[in-house]
Protein backbone atom coordinates (compact mmCIF):
# COMPACT_ATOMS: atom_id res chain seq x y z
CA UNK A 1 0.00 0.00 0.00
CA UNK A 2 1.58 3.26 -0.97
CA UNK A 3 1.63 6.48 -2.90
CA UNK A 4 4.02 6.26 -5.82
CA UNK A 5 6.11 9.29 -6.75
CA UNK A 6 5.81 9.93 -10.49
CA UNK A 7 7.53 13.33 -10.39
CA UNK A 8 9.19 14.70 -7.25
CA UNK A 9 9.17 18.29 -8.51
CA UNK A 10 11.97 20.58 -7.39
CA UNK A 11 12.39 19.19 -3.89
CA UNK A 12 10.21 16.72 -2.02
CA UNK A 13 11.29 15.34 1.36
CA UNK A 14 9.71 13.03 3.90
CA UNK A 15 9.51 14.89 7.22
CA UNK A 16 8.08 14.17 10.65
CA UNK A 17 8.21 16.57 13.60
CA UNK A 18 12.03 16.48 13.63
CA UNK A 19 14.93 14.65 15.26
CA UNK A 20 15.66 15.72 18.81
CA UNK A 21 18.19 14.73 21.46
CA UNK A 22 20.89 13.76 18.93
CA UNK A 23 22.98 16.94 18.87
CA UNK A 24 25.69 15.21 20.87
CA UNK A 25 26.64 13.05 17.92
CA UNK A 26 26.37 16.03 15.61
CA UNK A 27 22.91 15.33 14.16
CA UNK A 28 20.72 18.33 13.42
CA UNK A 29 16.90 18.51 13.78
CA UNK A 30 15.43 18.38 10.29
CA UNK A 31 11.64 18.49 10.37
CA UNK A 32 9.13 20.74 8.61
CA UNK A 33 10.28 24.24 7.62
CA UNK A 34 6.72 25.47 8.19
CA UNK A 35 5.51 23.60 11.28
CA UNK A 36 2.17 25.40 11.26
CA UNK A 37 1.18 24.09 7.82
CA UNK A 38 2.64 20.67 8.68
CA UNK A 39 0.65 20.48 11.96
CA UNK A 40 -2.58 21.47 10.20
CA UNK A 41 -2.01 18.70 7.69
CA UNK A 42 -1.86 16.06 10.45
CA UNK A 43 -4.66 17.60 12.49
CA UNK A 44 -7.02 17.76 9.53
CA UNK A 45 -6.26 14.11 8.77
CA UNK A 46 -6.79 13.17 12.45
CA UNK A 47 -3.24 11.78 12.59
CA UNK A 48 -1.05 11.75 15.70
CA UNK A 49 1.01 14.99 15.85
CA UNK A 50 4.29 14.72 13.97
CA UNK A 51 3.13 11.92 11.62
CA UNK A 52 5.32 11.66 8.53
CA UNK A 53 4.27 13.79 5.55
CA UNK A 54 5.96 15.01 2.37
CA UNK A 55 7.35 18.54 2.35
CA UNK A 56 7.08 19.86 -1.19
CA UNK A 57 9.18 22.92 -1.95
CA UNK A 58 8.01 25.18 -4.82
CA UNK A 59 5.84 22.48 -6.39
CA UNK A 60 5.80 20.30 -9.48
CA UNK A 61 5.15 17.01 -7.70
CA UNK A 62 2.98 14.21 -9.08
CA UNK A 63 1.98 11.05 -7.23
CA UNK A 64 -0.28 8.08 -7.89
CA UNK A 65 -2.35 6.51 -5.13
CA UNK A 66 -1.87 2.74 -5.09
CA UNK A 67 -4.47 2.24 -2.40
CA UNK A 68 -7.72 3.80 -1.13
CA UNK A 69 -6.96 6.44 1.48
CA UNK A 70 -7.40 10.10 2.37
CA UNK A 71 -4.94 12.88 1.60
CA UNK A 72 -4.56 16.52 2.55
CA UNK A 73 -2.35 19.26 1.13
CA UNK A 74 -1.61 22.33 3.29
CA UNK A 75 0.78 25.26 2.99
CA UNK A 76 1.48 27.21 -0.19
CA UNK A 77 -1.19 27.01 -2.90
CA UNK A 78 0.27 24.73 -5.57
CA UNK A 79 -2.87 24.29 -7.66
CA UNK A 80 -3.61 20.73 -6.54
CA UNK A 81 -5.38 18.53 -9.05
CA UNK A 82 -6.76 15.02 -8.71
CA UNK A 83 -7.03 13.18 -12.02
CA UNK A 84 -6.68 16.58 -13.67
CA UNK A 85 -9.61 18.16 -11.81
CA UNK A 86 -8.87 21.12 -9.47
CA UNK A 87 -9.04 20.06 -5.82
CA UNK A 88 -9.13 22.06 -2.60
CA UNK A 89 -6.15 22.37 -0.30
CA UNK A 90 -6.49 22.54 3.53
CA UNK A 91 -9.09 19.80 3.19
CA UNK A 92 -9.24 16.02 3.71
CA UNK A 93 -9.87 14.42 0.33
CA UNK A 94 -10.73 10.76 -0.32
CA UNK A 95 -8.63 9.12 -3.04
CA UNK A 96 -8.93 5.70 -4.67
CA UNK A 97 -6.23 3.42 -5.97
CA UNK A 98 -5.19 4.74 -9.37
CA UNK A 99 -5.99 8.39 -8.65
CA UNK A 100 -3.27 10.84 -9.74
CA UNK A 101 -2.40 13.82 -7.56
CA UNK A 102 -0.55 16.58 -9.35
CA UNK A 103 0.67 20.01 -8.39
CA UNK A 104 1.70 23.09 -10.30
CA UNK A 105 4.05 25.68 -8.87
CA UNK A 106 3.38 28.01 -5.95
CA UNK A 107 2.94 31.66 -6.74
CA UNK A 108 2.83 32.73 -3.12
CA UNK A 109 4.74 30.88 -0.44
CA UNK A 110 7.02 28.00 -1.29
CA UNK A 111 6.37 25.00 0.97
CA UNK A 112 3.41 22.65 1.06
CA UNK A 113 2.73 19.46 3.03
CA UNK A 114 1.12 16.38 1.58
CA UNK A 115 -0.15 14.00 4.24
CA UNK A 116 -2.10 10.72 4.18
CA UNK A 117 -4.42 9.17 6.76
CA UNK A 118 -2.23 7.56 9.47
CA UNK A 119 0.89 9.20 7.98
CA UNK A 120 3.49 7.54 5.78
CA UNK A 121 4.97 4.42 7.37
CA UNK A 122 8.68 5.16 7.35
CA UNK A 123 11.11 3.52 9.75
CA UNK A 124 12.64 6.12 12.06
CA UNK A 125 16.36 6.77 11.86
CA UNK A 126 17.81 8.03 15.15
CA UNK A 127 14.27 8.41 16.45
CA UNK A 128 12.82 10.29 13.48
CA UNK A 129 11.90 9.91 9.82
CA UNK A 130 12.99 13.51 9.03
CA UNK A 131 15.18 13.63 5.93
CA UNK A 132 18.41 15.61 6.25
CA UNK A 133 20.13 15.38 2.88
CA UNK A 134 23.40 16.85 4.13
CA UNK A 135 23.67 14.02 6.65
CA UNK A 136 22.23 11.32 4.40
CA UNK A 137 19.82 10.42 7.20
CA UNK A 138 16.07 9.83 7.39
CA UNK A 139 13.36 9.45 4.75
CA UNK A 140 13.46 6.36 2.54
CA UNK A 141 17.19 6.43 1.83
CA UNK A 142 18.57 9.59 3.40
CA UNK A 143 17.82 11.62 0.32
CA UNK A 144 15.12 13.62 -1.45
CA UNK A 145 12.32 11.70 -3.12
CA UNK A 146 12.81 10.60 -6.68
CA UNK A 147 10.54 9.32 -9.46
CA UNK A 148 9.55 5.72 -8.76
CA UNK A 149 9.84 5.98 -4.97
CA UNK A 150 7.05 4.22 -3.16
CA UNK A 151 5.78 5.92 0.01
CA UNK A 152 4.21 3.22 2.21
CA UNK A 153 0.84 4.04 3.78
CA UNK A 154 -2.09 1.96 5.01
CA UNK A 155 -5.46 1.52 3.30
CA UNK A 156 -8.01 3.66 5.12
CA UNK A 157 -11.78 3.71 4.48
CA UNK A 158 -13.07 5.98 7.25
CA UNK A 159 -12.06 9.54 8.00
CA UNK A 160 -13.88 12.71 9.03
CA UNK A 161 -13.69 15.06 6.06
CA UNK A 162 -12.29 18.02 7.96
CA UNK A 163 -11.24 21.29 6.40
CA UNK A 164 -9.85 24.64 7.43
CA UNK A 165 -12.23 27.47 6.49
CA UNK A 166 -10.72 29.92 4.04
CA UNK A 167 -10.77 32.84 6.48
CA UNK A 168 -8.61 30.85 8.90
CA UNK A 169 -6.06 29.73 6.33
CA UNK A 170 -2.62 31.35 6.64
CA UNK A 171 -1.67 33.83 3.95
CA UNK A 172 1.82 33.85 2.58
CA UNK A 173 3.06 37.33 1.81
CA UNK A 174 6.26 38.70 0.32
CA UNK A 175 6.98 40.59 3.53
CA UNK A 176 7.51 38.96 6.90
CA UNK A 177 8.25 40.41 10.31
CA UNK A 178 10.45 38.08 12.27
CA UNK A 179 10.46 38.50 16.03
CA UNK A 180 13.94 38.10 17.52
CA UNK A 181 15.01 37.27 21.06
CA UNK A 182 18.31 39.14 21.47
CA UNK A 183 20.93 36.85 22.98
CA UNK A 184 24.21 35.00 22.47
CA UNK A 185 26.88 37.59 21.51
CA UNK A 186 24.36 40.45 21.57
CA UNK A 187 26.66 42.56 23.77
CA UNK A 188 29.34 42.55 21.08
CA UNK A 189 27.01 44.40 18.72
CA UNK A 190 27.01 48.10 19.53
CA UNK A 191 23.74 49.91 20.18
CA UNK A 192 24.08 51.56 16.80
CA UNK A 193 24.53 48.19 15.04
CA UNK A 194 21.55 46.72 16.85
CA UNK A 195 19.39 49.67 15.88
CA UNK A 196 20.55 49.24 12.30
CA UNK A 197 19.64 45.56 12.35
CA UNK A 198 16.15 46.17 13.77
CA UNK A 199 15.26 49.20 11.69
CA UNK A 200 16.12 48.17 8.12
CA UNK A 201 14.55 45.76 5.70
CA UNK A 202 16.52 42.72 4.50
CA UNK A 203 15.93 40.65 1.42
CA UNK A 204 16.09 36.89 1.08
CA UNK A 205 19.12 36.09 -1.08
CA UNK A 206 19.37 33.26 -3.60
CA UNK A 207 21.29 31.33 -0.97
CA UNK A 208 18.37 30.14 1.10
CA UNK A 209 17.78 26.51 1.89
CA UNK A 210 16.86 24.15 4.70
CA UNK A 211 20.10 24.95 6.53
CA UNK A 212 19.49 28.65 6.68
CA UNK A 213 18.18 31.78 5.00
CA UNK A 214 20.96 34.15 4.02
CA UNK A 215 19.69 37.73 3.85
CA UNK A 216 20.96 40.85 2.10
CA UNK A 217 20.80 44.37 3.43
CA UNK A 218 22.72 46.86 5.53
CA UNK A 219 25.86 45.11 6.82
CA UNK A 220 25.97 44.61 10.57
CA UNK A 221 29.32 44.94 12.28
CA UNK A 222 30.33 42.97 15.30
CA UNK A 223 33.08 44.02 17.70
CA UNK A 224 34.59 40.55 17.50
CA UNK A 225 35.50 38.45 14.44
CA UNK A 226 34.77 35.02 15.74
CA UNK A 227 34.14 33.05 18.87
CA UNK A 228 35.12 29.67 20.21
CA UNK A 229 32.78 27.28 18.39
CA UNK A 230 29.56 26.81 20.35
CA UNK A 231 26.10 25.26 20.04
CA UNK A 232 23.64 26.87 17.61
CA UNK A 233 19.95 26.78 18.49
CA UNK A 234 17.07 26.82 16.02
CA UNK A 235 16.52 30.29 14.54
CA UNK A 236 19.93 31.63 15.64
CA UNK A 237 20.94 34.67 13.58
CA UNK A 238 24.57 34.48 12.64
CA UNK A 239 26.50 37.52 11.44
CA UNK A 240 29.53 36.44 9.39
CA UNK A 241 32.40 38.73 8.39
CA UNK A 242 30.44 40.29 5.49
CA UNK A 243 27.78 41.50 7.94
CA UNK A 244 24.88 39.83 6.10
CA UNK A 245 22.65 37.94 8.55
CA UNK A 246 21.90 34.22 8.20
CA UNK A 247 18.86 32.82 9.99
CA UNK A 248 19.75 29.21 10.80
CA UNK A 249 16.90 26.76 10.34
CA UNK A 250 16.07 23.06 10.58
CA UNK A 251 19.12 21.55 8.85
CA UNK A 252 21.69 23.96 10.38
CA UNK A 253 25.09 22.78 11.57
CA UNK A 254 24.93 22.13 15.33
CA UNK A 255 28.00 24.17 16.26
CA UNK A 256 29.79 27.12 14.73
CA UNK A 257 32.13 29.99 15.39
CA UNK A 258 30.40 33.09 13.99
CA UNK A 259 28.91 35.68 16.36
CA UNK A 260 25.13 35.62 16.75
CA UNK A 261 22.93 38.59 17.56
CA UNK A 262 19.99 36.52 18.84
CA UNK A 263 17.48 34.00 17.59
CA UNK A 264 14.28 34.25 15.58
CA UNK A 265 10.99 33.14 17.11
CA UNK A 266 10.07 29.70 15.75
CA UNK A 267 6.51 30.85 14.98
CA UNK A 268 7.96 33.36 12.49
CA UNK A 269 10.59 31.05 11.01
CA UNK A 270 7.80 29.14 9.26
CA UNK A 271 6.69 32.35 7.56
CA UNK A 272 10.31 33.16 6.70
CA UNK A 273 10.79 29.73 5.11
CA UNK A 274 7.71 30.37 2.94
CA UNK A 275 9.51 33.38 1.41
CA UNK A 276 11.45 33.00 -1.79
CA UNK A 277 14.54 34.94 -2.93
CA UNK A 278 13.72 38.64 -3.02
CA UNK A 279 11.17 38.40 -0.17
CA UNK A 280 11.43 41.13 2.44
CA UNK A 281 12.22 40.59 6.10
CA UNK A 282 11.96 42.98 9.05
CA UNK A 283 13.29 42.08 12.45
CA UNK A 284 11.57 43.12 15.69
CA UNK A 285 13.13 42.54 19.11
CA UNK A 286 11.10 40.80 21.81
CA UNK A 287 11.93 39.71 25.33
CA UNK A 288 12.21 36.04 26.32
CA UNK A 289 8.99 36.58 28.31
CA UNK A 290 7.11 37.81 25.27
CA UNK A 291 8.49 34.92 23.21
CA UNK A 292 7.34 32.43 25.82
CA UNK A 293 3.94 34.05 25.91
CA UNK A 294 3.63 33.92 22.12
CA UNK A 295 4.45 30.20 22.06
CA UNK A 296 1.84 29.40 24.70
CA UNK A 297 -0.78 31.57 23.05
CA UNK A 298 -0.23 29.85 19.71
CA UNK A 299 -0.42 26.45 21.38
CA UNK A 300 -3.58 27.33 23.27
CA UNK A 301 -5.30 28.68 20.15
CA UNK A 302 -4.42 25.52 18.28
CA UNK A 303 -5.79 23.29 21.04
CA UNK A 304 -9.09 25.16 21.11
CA UNK A 305 -9.61 25.46 17.39
CA UNK A 306 -12.44 23.31 16.00
CA UNK A 307 -11.99 21.98 12.50
CA UNK A 308 -15.35 21.65 10.69
CA UNK A 309 -16.35 18.83 8.32
CA UNK A 310 -17.49 19.13 4.75
CA UNK A 311 -20.04 16.96 2.97
CA UNK A 312 -18.91 15.34 -0.27
Amino acid sequence: MSLRVEQPGILALLQDGGRFGQHRIGLTNGGPLDPQAFDYCNRLLQNPPGSTAVEISFGGAELTAETDTFVCLTGADMGLRINGEPAEQWRVLPVRAGDVLSMGFAEKGSRAYLGVAEGFSVAPHFGSSATVMREGIGGLHGDKLGAGDSLPCPTVHQRHLRYLPREQQPHYHDIVTVRVIPGYQQKFFSRYQQRRFFSHAYHVSARCDRMGYRLEGPAIECDIDGILSEGICFGAIQIPADGQPIVLLNDRQTIGGYPKIGAALSLDCGQLAQLRPGGRVHFAPITPHAAHNALHLAHSLMCRQRLPEWAP
Binding site: H23, I25, L228, G231, C233
Partner: protein, 225 residues
Protein backbone atom coordinates in the same frame (compact mmCIF):
# COMPACT_ATOMS: atom_id res chain seq x y z
CA UNK B 1 30.21 31.52 34.81
CA UNK B 2 27.86 33.37 32.51
CA UNK B 3 24.40 32.37 31.41
CA UNK B 4 22.83 34.09 28.39
CA UNK B 5 19.61 33.81 26.50
CA UNK B 6 20.12 31.99 23.19
CA UNK B 7 16.58 31.65 21.82
CA UNK B 8 12.94 31.10 22.74
CA UNK B 9 13.77 27.75 24.35
CA UNK B 10 17.54 27.86 24.76
CA UNK B 11 20.12 29.21 27.17
CA UNK B 12 23.87 29.17 26.71
CA UNK B 13 26.16 28.61 29.65
CA UNK B 14 29.78 29.81 29.42
CA UNK B 15 32.29 28.20 31.76
CA UNK B 16 35.40 29.93 30.47
CA UNK B 17 36.66 31.82 27.46
CA UNK B 18 39.52 29.67 26.28
CA UNK B 19 39.86 26.08 25.15
CA UNK B 20 41.53 24.04 27.85
CA UNK B 21 41.16 20.59 29.30
CA UNK B 22 40.05 22.11 32.61
CA UNK B 23 37.29 24.21 31.06
CA UNK B 24 36.21 21.29 28.91
CA UNK B 25 35.99 19.06 31.97
CA UNK B 26 33.78 21.65 33.65
CA UNK B 27 31.55 21.73 30.57
CA UNK B 28 31.26 17.94 30.78
CA UNK B 29 30.40 18.04 34.46
CA UNK B 30 27.87 20.82 33.90
CA UNK B 31 26.26 18.83 31.08
CA UNK B 32 25.73 15.87 33.39
CA UNK B 33 24.39 18.04 36.20
CA UNK B 34 22.02 19.97 33.91
CA UNK B 35 20.76 16.76 32.35
CA UNK B 36 19.98 15.45 35.80
CA UNK B 37 18.34 18.59 37.16
CA UNK B 38 16.17 19.33 34.08
CA UNK B 39 15.03 15.76 33.50
CA UNK B 40 12.14 15.56 31.04
CA UNK B 41 12.13 19.36 30.52
CA UNK B 42 15.40 19.00 28.60
CA UNK B 43 15.23 18.60 24.81
CA UNK B 44 18.91 18.60 23.89
CA UNK B 45 22.38 19.70 24.97
CA UNK B 46 25.32 20.87 22.88
CA UNK B 47 28.57 20.82 24.83
CA UNK B 48 31.44 22.65 23.16
CA UNK B 49 34.90 24.05 24.02
CA UNK B 50 33.84 26.37 26.82
CA UNK B 51 30.07 26.47 26.58
CA UNK B 52 26.97 24.37 26.96
CA UNK B 53 23.85 25.09 24.91
CA UNK B 54 20.78 24.01 26.87
CA UNK B 55 17.56 23.47 24.90
CA UNK B 56 14.38 22.93 26.91
CA UNK B 57 10.70 22.30 26.21
CA UNK B 58 8.99 25.72 26.41
CA UNK B 59 5.56 24.14 26.90
CA UNK B 60 6.75 22.48 30.13
CA UNK B 61 8.99 25.13 31.67
CA UNK B 62 10.37 28.62 31.03
CA UNK B 63 13.70 30.40 30.92
CA UNK B 64 13.38 31.72 34.48
CA UNK B 65 12.90 28.28 35.96
CA UNK B 66 15.62 26.78 33.78
CA UNK B 67 18.17 29.51 34.51
CA UNK B 68 17.45 29.24 38.22
CA UNK B 69 18.05 25.48 38.19
CA UNK B 70 21.15 25.78 36.00
CA UNK B 71 22.75 28.48 38.17
CA UNK B 72 22.08 26.49 41.27
CA UNK B 73 23.52 23.23 40.00
CA UNK B 74 26.56 24.85 38.37
CA UNK B 75 27.40 26.77 41.56
CA UNK B 76 27.71 23.52 43.43
CA UNK B 77 29.72 21.67 40.79
CA UNK B 78 32.59 19.88 42.43
CA UNK B 79 36.08 20.57 41.18
CA UNK B 80 36.46 18.16 38.32
CA UNK B 81 39.63 16.54 37.13
CA UNK B 82 40.44 16.80 33.45
CA UNK B 83 41.41 13.76 31.44
CA UNK B 84 39.02 11.23 32.86
CA UNK B 85 37.45 10.18 29.57
CA UNK B 86 38.32 6.89 27.91
CA UNK B 87 41.42 6.66 25.72
CA UNK B 88 40.77 5.90 22.04
CA UNK B 89 43.69 5.07 19.76
CA UNK B 90 43.15 5.89 16.10
CA UNK B 91 45.52 4.45 13.49
CA UNK B 92 46.70 6.91 10.83
CA UNK B 93 48.52 6.38 7.57
CA UNK B 94 50.56 9.59 7.30
CA UNK B 95 51.86 10.07 3.79
CA UNK B 96 51.55 12.68 1.03
CA UNK B 97 49.58 10.01 -0.85
CA UNK B 98 46.97 10.01 1.96
CA UNK B 99 47.28 13.62 3.09
CA UNK B 100 47.53 16.12 0.27
CA UNK B 101 48.76 18.95 2.50
CA UNK B 102 51.33 17.02 4.52
CA UNK B 103 54.33 18.15 2.47
CA UNK B 104 53.31 21.81 2.28
CA UNK B 105 52.43 21.93 5.97
CA UNK B 106 55.88 20.52 6.81
CA UNK B 107 57.56 23.00 4.52
CA UNK B 108 55.68 25.98 5.96
CA UNK B 109 56.52 24.80 9.46
CA UNK B 110 60.18 24.40 8.54
CA UNK B 111 60.05 20.78 9.58
CA UNK B 112 60.54 17.42 7.95
CA UNK B 113 57.53 15.20 7.24
CA UNK B 114 58.76 12.74 9.87
CA UNK B 115 58.84 15.50 12.48
CA UNK B 116 55.30 16.59 11.64
CA UNK B 117 54.11 12.99 12.05
CA UNK B 118 55.97 12.67 15.35
CA UNK B 119 54.50 15.92 16.71
CA UNK B 120 50.98 14.99 15.64
CA UNK B 121 51.09 11.45 17.01
CA UNK B 122 53.16 12.01 20.15
CA UNK B 123 50.51 13.60 22.28
CA UNK B 124 47.09 12.92 23.69
CA UNK B 125 44.19 15.04 22.45
CA UNK B 126 40.91 15.80 24.08
CA UNK B 127 37.52 15.65 22.33
CA UNK B 128 36.27 19.20 22.88
CA UNK B 129 33.14 19.14 20.79
CA UNK B 130 31.18 17.14 18.24
CA UNK B 131 29.34 18.94 15.49
CA UNK B 132 29.60 20.52 12.04
CA UNK B 133 28.62 17.13 10.64
CA UNK B 134 27.55 13.83 12.23
CA UNK B 135 30.52 12.33 14.03
CA UNK B 136 32.89 15.25 13.44
CA UNK B 137 34.98 15.47 16.64
CA UNK B 138 37.03 18.59 17.32
CA UNK B 139 40.29 17.49 18.97
CA UNK B 140 42.82 19.76 20.67
CA UNK B 141 45.32 21.04 21.11
CA UNK B 142 47.76 20.49 18.27
CA UNK B 143 51.42 21.33 18.97
CA UNK B 144 51.91 25.01 18.07
CA UNK B 145 54.76 24.10 15.69
CA UNK B 146 52.41 22.23 13.35
CA UNK B 147 49.35 24.49 13.76
CA UNK B 148 48.26 25.69 10.32
CA UNK B 149 45.52 28.07 9.19
CA UNK B 150 42.57 26.83 7.13
CA UNK B 151 43.06 26.72 3.36
CA UNK B 152 42.19 29.96 1.57
CA UNK B 153 39.91 27.97 -0.74
CA UNK B 154 38.17 25.02 0.89
CA UNK B 155 38.14 21.74 -1.01
CA UNK B 156 34.85 20.68 -2.54
CA UNK B 157 35.49 17.11 -1.52
CA UNK B 158 37.51 15.84 1.42
CA UNK B 159 37.61 12.02 1.58
CA UNK B 160 36.17 10.03 4.45
CA UNK B 161 38.80 9.30 7.10
CA UNK B 162 40.96 12.31 6.20
CA UNK B 163 43.03 13.42 9.20
CA UNK B 164 43.37 17.17 9.21
CA UNK B 165 44.66 20.21 11.06
CA UNK B 166 43.14 23.70 11.37
CA UNK B 167 44.89 26.12 13.72
CA UNK B 168 45.47 24.12 16.88
CA UNK B 169 42.61 21.71 16.23
CA UNK B 170 42.71 18.35 14.54
CA UNK B 171 39.97 16.01 13.36
CA UNK B 172 39.10 12.95 11.30
CA UNK B 173 36.49 13.65 8.60
CA UNK B 174 33.66 11.16 9.28
CA UNK B 175 32.28 11.29 5.74
CA UNK B 176 33.05 12.76 2.35
CA UNK B 177 32.35 16.49 2.67
CA UNK B 178 33.61 19.91 1.68
CA UNK B 179 36.34 21.13 3.99
CA UNK B 180 39.09 23.70 4.46
CA UNK B 181 41.39 21.91 6.89
CA UNK B 182 44.95 20.78 6.03
CA UNK B 183 44.99 17.07 5.20
CA UNK B 184 47.92 15.14 6.63
CA UNK B 185 46.86 11.49 6.58
CA UNK B 186 44.04 8.98 6.55
CA UNK B 187 42.41 6.98 9.36
CA UNK B 188 40.70 3.64 8.60
CA UNK B 189 38.42 3.78 11.68
CA UNK B 190 34.82 4.77 10.91
CA UNK B 191 34.10 7.93 12.94
CA UNK B 192 30.37 7.72 12.30
CA UNK B 193 28.48 4.59 11.42
CA UNK B 194 24.70 4.93 11.66
CA UNK B 195 24.27 1.15 11.86
CA UNK B 196 26.89 0.59 14.59
CA UNK B 197 26.34 0.74 18.33
CA UNK B 198 27.73 3.10 19.51
CA UNK B 199 27.60 5.12 16.31
CA UNK B 200 30.84 6.93 17.19
CA UNK B 201 34.10 5.62 18.70
CA UNK B 202 34.53 8.84 20.74
CA UNK B 203 32.40 11.22 22.77
CA UNK B 204 33.06 14.66 24.22
CA UNK B 205 35.63 14.46 27.04
CA UNK B 206 37.38 11.35 25.69
CA UNK B 207 41.11 11.27 25.00
CA UNK B 208 42.49 10.42 21.57
CA UNK B 209 45.95 9.36 20.46
CA UNK B 210 46.98 8.86 16.84
CA UNK B 211 49.14 5.87 16.00
CA UNK B 212 51.16 5.95 12.76
CA UNK B 213 50.62 2.83 10.66
CA UNK B 214 52.07 1.63 7.37
CA UNK B 215 50.23 1.69 4.08
CA UNK B 216 49.78 -2.09 4.26
CA UNK B 217 48.38 -1.96 7.79
CA UNK B 218 46.06 0.92 6.83
CA UNK B 219 44.60 -1.10 3.96
CA UNK B 220 44.37 -4.21 6.15
CA UNK B 221 42.30 -2.21 8.66
CA UNK B 222 39.83 -1.38 5.92
CA UNK B 223 41.24 1.98 4.84
CA UNK B 224 40.66 3.17 1.30
CA UNK B 225 42.90 5.38 -0.81
Amino acid sequence: MELHSAGENALILYLGDTASAEVSARVQAAAQAVEHVLGADLVDLVPSYASLLIIYDPLRTDHLAVSHKVRECVATLDAVAAGEGKLVVLPVYYDPEAGADLASLAENAGLGIEQVIALHSDCEYRVYAIGFAPGFAYLGEVDARIAAPRLATPRQKVPRGAVAIADRQTAVYPAVSPGGWNLIGRCPTRMFDPSAEPTMPVSVGDRVRFEPVSRARFLELGGEL
